[in-house]
């Protein structure tokens, strides 16, 4: 287990559970029982930090106009070799080499946070996806190294 991933996740847990006073939903919580709120609230709880949506190299460019499809996002930065394990992502032999940075305050509806099932990270569910306007500043994906 990478120490940096542990620290990054623990600090996000600290912000959410201790500073914002939230309960990160248990892993057994169904989507329709998660707390639903607007993006401004989530952004405030995260201290203005952004959400991260990792992706495979072949998916770069697919979301530059945003998407209406349900997406998961996390506040926690991970190195490519640790993203899969900490978020328990399928196709574990394929590193998520890219990330899209999202401004939560520009997303209308967000569910969570919830602990990742059979993983160690924290995730939010964006049931209506995210608009193009939520993609931070430069407007495209960043390679993670």
């Amino acid at each position: 287990m990478g120490t940096a991933s542990f620290l990054a996740t623990m600090l996000d847990q600290e912000i959410l559970e201790v500073r914002a006073g939230l309960v990160i939903a248990p892993r057994t919580t169904p989507d329709d029982k998660l707390r639903a709120t607007d993006g401004n609230t989530v952004a405030a709880e995260l201290g203005g930090r952004y959400l991260l949506r990792y992706m495979l190299p072949r998916q770069v460019g697919q979301f530059r106009d945003g998407t209406a499809l349900p997406q998961c996002a996390t506040p926690t930065p991970y190195a490519p070799e640790e993203t899969v394990s900490w978020l328990f992502l399928p196709a574990p032999d394929e590193d998520r080499m890219y990330v899209m940075v999202l401004d939560a305050s520009r997303i209308d509806r967000i569910l969570g946070p919830r602990w990742v099932r059979c993983g160690k990270g924290i995730e939010y569910l964006l049931p209506n996806g995210f608009p193009k306007g939520a993609i931070v500043a430069w407007g495209w994906e960043m390679q993670v190294t």
Binding site: T9, T29, P30, L89
Partner: protein, 135 residues
């Protein structure tokens, strides 16, 4: 993946897993590059999970239909420790997802449910981050 395809696939999966007591935890979502549907059965002190996922496979694209790498995982936890294991994998296209895939996956799904049901406390070898308390 189209929402209609995801919903059709999800309904077929839900029907099959419900027969063995596994409930769906949501309609499915894109988790950092892979669509995933999760099912839960709480029994004998453990939460038992079955995960079904589709990851698009660019190099297998033929014609207009997207192809997917379909994986089925079994997992379990006791809120403190957990385990996850890959049960099976196959390739399918978008048309399969709407029609044949639940049948193509039936044996793998059965094995995943059995594996999830057979996990015992001693199998949970990884540890979740502990909950923190307000200072």
């Amino acid at each position: 993946m189209r929402v209609e395809t995801s919903n059709t696939f999800h309904e077929a999966l839900s029907g099959r897993l419900k027969k063995r007591g596994f409930s769906h935890l949501g309609p499915g979502a894109d988790r950092h590059g892979s669509w995933e549907w999760v099912f839960l059965k709480a029994a004998e002190g453990l939460n038992r999970f079955v995960f079904v996922s589709c990851t698009d496979v660019a190099q297998f694209v033929t014609g207009d239909l997207p192809w997917y790498r379909v994986q089925v995982w079994a997992g379990a936890d006791d809120h403190i420790r957990f385990v996850r294991r890959l049960t099976g994998e196959l390739r399918a296209n978008e048309q399969h997802l709407g029609k044949e895939l639940p049948g193509m996956l039936s044996e793998t799904l059965d094995r995943a449910m059995t594996e999830a049901e057979r996990f015992r406390g001693v199998d949970l070898t990884e540890i979740y981050l502990p909950a923190r308390t307000k200072r």
